[in-house]
Subunit: 213 residues, 2 copies
């Protein structure tokens, strides 16, 4: 059953899928597209909705990062069996994505002065609003979204890391329960070795490569 | 087990949950907030992330429309048992929400001339891009996202109806597989009677009420 994940050579929405695949010891082809080569129109038109990540298994194609993350986590402890807990994890993940929806327009802002202003607002308003709530959620549920580690916390980590890469900071440091969770997932068997092997992502290098386009 | 769904007195992200609850014959309190009374700060600060819909059951609270829709559909035929089909439905739903992310800024645009221009672009670009793909997906999968009716098609209907209310049109008419699906869900036992009982939503009336604020 050959598995292949195609995503950019960066963290973001595809990275938690890589983490889950490594943690659950699944072999897969880690196909990476350089951001400087995007949009690759030939690849883009073959994608169901023109977007990455895309996951392939036995010739079948699945798009959308959350659907892929949950699919590759199926049959493992990362999927809560209790329906209410399952829903709690989903609910938390959608709120994580709501947070991310506030960040992406700031990343994409071309006017540097305007971007600086928006980054300031992200720190003082958006991050504090969402992260204080994520922190409370974790504290109230034994350090996780719903009592134990699930696919959902991997998504939170992926979004935090993507934000940190852009903001040049570690937003989780002010939030003890989130900070502990981030450290825990990064130390998981499989994940830990993968992070060492891939090395850090370099945002300046990525930006420089994109600007060459 | 008293169930309560709180959402605006309009369609949108909360309406497919109402449809699923009626179709699966679950009794619930249909608590409706008039848009003209929003933001209701007293209610808003009690919500986990300040947003509606919110679902309550036995004193427990769940937010995020997709998490709620899937939770109330649990244990019914609306949840595919095959993991790949389950993932296909999720994937389609996330693409439906991606479409919606393109519509909401247009709804919120205050400048009337700019809004008119954006609506034009929605019709010529966004709607055609997504709806031709949704239509193909349905055609290739027996009229549904994955072989048979699931919670996912209810989400598609909810988003279509919310868009139609704003655009004053029926975008599905140009897409035969989507049009057939819309008609089918609206005729389902439980859904059909609910639609008759609630009557149509009136966007002009809603706007007028909001402008009074």
């Amino acid at each position: 059953m050959p598995k292949k994940l195609t995503y950019f050579n960066i963290n973001g929405l595809g990275e938690p899928i890589r983490y889950i695949l490594h943690y659950t010891k699944q072999e897969f082809e880690d196909n990476r597209i350089e951001l400087g080569n995007w949009p690759d129109l030939k690849l883009k038109e073959k994608l169901p909705f023109g977007q990455l990540p895309v996951y392939e298994e036995d010739g079948r194609v699945l798009c959308q990062s959350l659907a892929i993350a949950k699919y590759v986590a199926r049959g493992t402890d990362l999927i809560p069996s209790d329906p209410w807990k399952y829903a709690q994890v989903e609910s938390a993940v959608y709120s994580v994505l709501d947070y991310w929806k506030n960040v992406t327009p700031v990343v994409q802002e071309k006017d540097q002065a305007k971007q600086k202003e928006l980054v300031e607002k992200l720190h003082t308003e958006t991050i504090e609003y969402y992260f204080s709530r994520f922190n409370n959620l974790l504290k109230e549920n034994g350090g996780y979204f719903s009592g134990k580690l699930s696919w959902g916390e991997f998504i939170l980590l992926g979004i935090i890391e993507a934000g940190n890469l852009f903001l040049g900071t570690n937003v989780e440091k002010k939030y003890p329960a989130i900070d502990a969770l981030v450290k825990e997932i990064r130390s998981l068997p499989g994940v830990k070795e993968y992070i060492v092997a891939r090395g850090p992502y370099d945002f300046e290098e990525i930006k420089a490569r994109m600007n060459k386009q």
